[in-house]
């Protein structure tokens, strides 16, 4: 028996997993339209590289990555691009996001694709490129681009690879079913990961003891490979990265650090399968296993779902009864969120669609005042103080929140689960985190604006100084010019030709001005133009003043001054013209 550690806190909600594993992984008919959001991952959104009306094959690239932390998107089935626009997506805000819509042709034709079987002799860099090109992100829920995660850099050698098969959240059985049916391919995927990470010493599959069938399925394939299947007692939330690392190795991940900083990499088992398909079969990530469960659907089962499938498609094919339940949740009952509507697409991180009946998950009871019982602190797996975080979040005391390590909260929901007053604690932490992040961004902008302002002041001062210097120089030169007779000046001019003195500049300017004065017709035309423009400006200014007087605005003083100004200029130009014509 491999030693495991026990994380602090945690809760044991009823598992409710038996409903969705009575049958194997199913396949749904291809939906008529698929909507692929351009941002299904942490990092910059992908950039479309197709046009509306273009026909695409299954697996064809439809959006390219934008930058290093970004992934491409592929067509989940063959068809035509019917739209590239903002559509509703599965986001708590209910806002729209850019998506590509594909109308399927039903043929499901794959694009030409080819994998490599001899991954041991390919460089890790090339393997990573293939993983990146396949659009693979963390499928456990976080959605971090896998090619970036698997590339820790030379300073951070990896000695432990952890495959996360925990699936600790109730109702979800996607990974469980996948392991039962695809154990051999998954182990192949683990070997590929090992090759990418330069063969870490320690490779472990962490799995909870509520999945005996999956453990049994893995056993024959890991035999003799050096991969150990580590079974530990079921507890929510053991599947969090930090928690799993502690359970399997006893090491605590320091706050703010990545697992790669302590020589570990943690990959979800679904992602492992996708990586195997990408390298060996050459298939980009176009589908994933999603659990459809809850008492409001007639059939509860896992499906190999195409990315971009509308949730409504899944629900209709599973005999969804809208009257039986109040909502549809994407994700599990602890960390999932209620969908604003069922017309949103499945994305690469969707592991479950939960449609509970009213009896199963009743509506939220109203929150009552905190009685300071401390049960939340007992339940917290990150050893934080949820009660203090709650009070400081209510008081919006950012300093104290950061002092109590608010950003180490993994938002697992164990504290809200145990709260006897039904306080939605995680909402407070999310709101507080958002506020603090926003304040930090504002600070950065403010510092930047301050720098620009300082530079602006400097620039103005410099310009003033230079003007002063030029003025002084010109004054000196003018005095000198008066003192010296012109004959002597021409001598000095020919000598000092390269460095044109101020006197030269003045002389040249005077000559230019004299030349300009030459043509009276030009002058007259110019003056007439000036007068016309001034008259126009005066009219506009007077209209504005009349408006301002009518509406009694405070701009009256400014505007009447402007009108006066314009009128004066007009008079000046008129007098000049009269003089000229005289």
């Amino acid at each position: 028996m491999i030693k495991t550690w026990v994380t602090p806190g945690g809760v044991h909600p009823p598992e409710n997993k038996h409903q969705s594993v009575t049958q194997g992984i199913g396949h749904l008919p291809i939906p008529e339209k698929l909507v692929i959001p351009l941002s299904q991952h942490i990092g910059a959104a992908a950039i479309p590289c197709v046009e509306v009306g273009q026909t695409v094959l299954k697996g064809q690239v439809i959006a390219k990555p934008a930058g290093v932390v970004s992934i491409p998107m592929h067509a989940p089935t063959s068809g035509t691009i019917s739209a590239i626009e903002h559509r509703p997506i599965a986001h708590s805000s209910g806002m729209l996001a850019p998506c590509i819509e594909i109308t399927s042709d039903g043929a499901d034709n794959w694009i030409e694709h080819e994998g490599i079987s001899d991954y041991e002799h390919i460089s890790p860099a090339k393997l990573l490129e293939m993983v990146g090109n396949a659009g693979i992100t963390g499928m456990g829920g976080a959605g971090f681009p896998s090619a970036v995660k698997l590339n820790p850099g030379r300073q951070r050698p990896i000695d432990t690879l952890i495959i996360n098969a925990t699936e600790c959240e109730p109702y979800i059985t996607a990974d469980d079913s996948a392991i039962r049916e695809r154990a051999e391919e998954i182990v192949e995927g683990i070997k590929i990961l090992s090759a990418i990470l330069d063969h870490p010493h320690n490779i472990m599959i962490g799995i909870e003891d509520n999945k005996p069938e999956a453990i049994e399925a893995l056993a024959p394939h890991v035999d003799g490979t050096g991969i150990s299947v580590v079974v530990f007692p079921t507890k929510y939330p053991s599947g969090g990265e930090k928690q799993l690392i502690y359970i399997l190795t006893g090491k605590e991940l320091p706050s703010g650090k990545l697992p790669a900083d302590i020589g570990m990499v943690c990959i979800n088992i679904g992602t492992t399968y996708a990586i195997k398909r990408a390298i060996i079969d050459g298939e980009p990530l176009v589908s994933r296993v999603t659990t459809v469960t809850g008492d409001a659907v007639g059939i509860q089962r896992n499906y190999d779902t195409l990315i971009g499938t509308p949730v409504s498609h899944l629900l209709t094919h599973n005999e969804y009864d809208e009257q039986a339940g109040g909502r549809v949740v994407m994700g599990g009952p602890m960390m999932g969120f209620t969908l604003p509507s069922a017309e949103v697409p499945i994305v690469k991180t969707t592991n479950c669609i939960l449609a509970p009946s009213y009896a199963e998950i009743p509506d939220d009871e109203p929150a009552q005042p905190c009685i300071r019982c401390g049960m939340c602190a007992e339940a917290c797996p990150a050893s934080l103080l949820p009660q203090q975080l709650f009070w400081y979040a209510q008081a919006e005391d950012h300093e104290r929140l950061e002092a109590h390590n608010l950003f180490d909260c993994i938002e697992c929901g164990a504290c809200s689960y145990v709260c006897p007053s039904n306080i939605p604690l995680v909402q407070y932490y999310r709101a507080a985190k958002g506020e603090i992040r926003h304040a930090r961004e504002e600070k950065v902008k403010a510092d930047h604006a301050r720098e620009r302002f300082e530079f602006h002041k400097q620039r103005i001062e410099q310009a003033e100084r230079e003007k002063e210097e030029k003025r002084a120089a010109r004054r000196e030169a003018a005095l000198k010019a008066k003192a010296n007779p012109p004959a002597a000046k021409s001598e000095t001019k020919s000598e000092a030709k390269p460095s044109s003195s101020a006197a030269d500049i003045i002389a040249a300017a005077q000559a230019r001005a004299a030349a300009k004065q030459a043509s009276p017709e030009d002058q007259q035309a110019k003056l007439e133009r000036t007068i016309a423009a001034a008259e126009q400006r005066l009219k506009v200014a007077e209209e504005k003043l009349a408006e301002a007087i009518e509406s009694n605005s405070d701009k009256q003083a400014v505007l009447s001054a402007a009108v006066e100004n314009t009128r004066q200029k007009l008079e000046q130009s008129k007098t000049k013209l009269a003089e000229l014509q005289a």
């Binding site: 005042p369 009070w391 005391d397």
Partner: protein, 191 residues
């Protein structure tokens, strides 16, 4: 050794200057809003108390008693305290301008802190030697710091809590101080 332990326990817990003898309540209430300023104030007051205990012992033993000027104790000790506080103020202004700004007017008010004068006068009435006086001064400071820090921690929590409207601010602070005082009364008779 045992004597020193007794002196410390006595001045920190049993005869705590703030909660048992009710001296020095002004900074106790005034600077306890935030933990950082409370810690700063506690450090400053302990520094002042220790130096004052030492200086006042010296002044008493070398100037007042030989010259038979015992009736000048109060004013002489005030002089000593004022000088020590002024020195502390300059020291803090130099080393931590933020703390200086935060303590604000309460720093020079340590001069009028009855706990400081109380320590100085009580030391003379107990017939102690130099070491014992200094230890009493330090213990008084430590006791003051302990209680001030506890109190400010509680006030911070109270600031974020759901206090009923009529109790917010000074009212709940006074009630808390009263409850703390009750707790400290439990130490009486320990030594």
């Amino acid at each position: 050794m045992q004597e020193f332990a007794v002196i410390l326990v006595s001045s920190i817990l049993i005869n705590n200057y703030v909660l048992v003898q009710f001296l020095g309540l002004c900074p106790f209430m005034g600077v306890s809003n935030k933990l950082e300023s409370a810690i700063g104030m506690a450090a400053a007051t302990t520094f002042v108390l220790t130096l004052t205990a030492m200086a006042s012992y010296v002044v008493n033993a070398l100037v007042l008693e030989p010259l038979g000027l015992i009736y000048l104790r109060t004013i002489a000790f005030i002089l000593v305290i004022a000088a020590v506080v002024q020195f502390t103020k300059m020291f803090i202004e130099k080393t931590s301008p933020l703390l200086y700004r935060v303590l604000g007017v309460f720093l020079p008010l340590i001069t009028t802190n009855c706990a400081v004068l109380g320590v100085a006068l009580q030391n003379t009435s107990k017939d102690l030697n130099f070491a014992q006086s200094s230890l009493y001064g330090f213990g008084a400071g430590a006791g003051f710091s302990l209680v001030l820090i506890f109190f400010s921690a509680m006030r911070e929590r109270l600031a974020a809590a759901d206090v009923p409207v009529s109790f917010r601010g000074a009212a709940i602070a006074m009630i808390t101080a009263g409850l703390m005082s009750l707790a400290f009364m439990g130490f009486s008779g320990l030594v």
